[in-house]
Amino acid sequence: MSAHTIRVTVNGAAHERSIEPRLLLADFLRGTLGLTGTHVGCEHGVCGACTVLVDGDSMRSCLLFAVQLDGCSIETVESLGTLNDLNPLQQAFREHHALQCGFCTPGMLMTATDLLRKYPLATDEQIREGLSGNLCRCTGYEHIVAAVRAARDAR
């Protein structure tokens, strides 16, 4: 199958690559660009671990082909903060022990970033509904909800 050339902006940096059409965005980010912060869990849109922002909207990067995103701007977990300079949402996750193994965390953070922009998240029920598309097998979710609640209050 013929290669296609795409130009994308990822976390503010421009990239041009020649890729096969079937390359998933998740694999483009991890394998082609080496941005391994985005995690790949189920590869069929159920677990939410690979969630990234495409032109500002959260999307599953395992359900998009990189070839579709020519001209788009993508934000991954690497865009949020650094080890020594966490962003407020990451700081809330840290303070509320919202992660254990950390596998789901990039998807949780990117999902919560979009939720906090779009919804009031006035109640815990609304926070839980918002996070319901992201699976976590360690925390039991309580601390993730607490972290998002804190980020909401600080918004």
């Binding site: 199958m1 013929s2 296609h4 096969e20 059409p21 079937r22 998933l24 694999d27 590869e43 069929h44 849109g45 939410g48 969630t51 495409v54 909207d57 959260s58 999307m59 599953r60 395992c62 359900l63 998009l64 082909f65 070839v67 579709q68 999902t111 979009d114 939720l115 779009k118 839980r128 509904e129 918002g130 319901s132 598309g133 992201n134």
Partner: protein
């Protein structure tokens, strides 16, 4: 868990898209939001030779107030429908239903044309198309046609669409402000496919029901209208007797599957309970509007 190879085509118009589909002769699939198609590709349940990506066709994403109807372009994302002030004003039951569609990341990408064409029996949009007597606009190399939602859904993942046809629009007759509505759904987690969902509208005049509409998802091989229940309610007030009769008729009109998530009996039970809740809410709203 990686999709098989395919040839990637990007049409810039509806005409070019359907020409590519025709050229593909059944080997081409439409890629819209991809929220159902890409998982099937990743599982290799499908191996289309060609994917026709319609996302770059201009003018296919809109929500338009057009007199008596609201027109929604096929590339409109679920999130846009969920949050549209036009939909909230003229089709509030649709706004309510859209909040139940999957999760934000899916609603941001999934399209209404894709949901209709995929026709999952438990999806909300096909059921709302039936409830609201929507008309679907369809394009093919031969031209354009229009089909009623009730004639479009044929069975599980099966619709009246030729391989070279593309859904371009859905048109909903506006609901008058006086109409009452209800939407009820039960799923294991918020955003999962419905174990069962029921939506209803009631037109009430002089204290009796002039027209009832009831649509059910998740409880048969496709979304269905509970036509017997609707007929039972016509000309009556919503009291315990008419409500019981309608719920029993709704329960009787579906043939749910047993699967990992719920038994057939449980789904029937849900249909009965959710029909009562949806009708109650619709009746209350209609009385408040009167």
């Amino acid at each position: 868990m990686k999709p098989p190879p395919f040839e990637y085509r990007v049409p810039d118009s509806v005409e070019a898209a359907v020409a590519m589909l025709a050229e593909g002769g059944g080997e081409a699939k439409v890629l819209a939001g991809g929220q159902s198609l890409v998982p099937m590709l990743n599982f290799r349940l499908l191996r289309p030779a060609i994917l026709v990506d319609i996302n770059r066709i201009p003018g296919l994403s809109y929500i338009r107030d057009d007199g008596d109807v609201i027109r929604v372009g096929a590339l409109t994302r679920h999130y846009q429908l969920e949050t549209s002030p036009v939909i909230f004003e003229h089709l509030p039951v649709l706004s309510a239903a859209m909040a139940h569609v999957a999760h934000l990341a899916i609603r941001n990408r999934g399209t209404i044309g894709g949901s209709l064409s995929h026709a999952d029996p438990a999806a909300e949009l096909p059921m709302m198309a039936l409830l609201l007597d929507a008309m679907l606009g369809i394009a093919s190399p031969q031209g354009r046609r229009s089909v009623a939602a009730r004639d479009f859904f044929l069975g599980a993942l099966s619709v009246g669409l030729e391989p070279d046809e593309l859904v371009t629009e859905m048109a909903f007759p506006k609901l008058p402000p006086s109409i009452g509505w209800g939407f009820e759904e039960v799923s294991r987690r918020h955003g999962d496919f419905a174990l069962a969902a029921v939506a209803a509208t009631l037109t009430v005049r002089d204290g009796t029901i002039a027209e009832a509409r009831i649509a059910i998802a998740g409880a048969d091989d496709r979304a269905v209208r509970a036509t017997e229940a609707e007929a039972l309610l016509a000309g009556r007030a919503l009291d315990q007797a008419s409500l019981d009769a309608a719920c029993e008729a709704a329960r009787a009109c579906v043939s749910p599957n047993t699967d990992l998530h719920a038994s057939s009996d449980y789904r029937r039970h849900l249909v009965e309970v959710l029909t009562a809740k949806a009708l109650d809410a619709a009746w209350r709203r209609a009385r408040e509007a009167a």
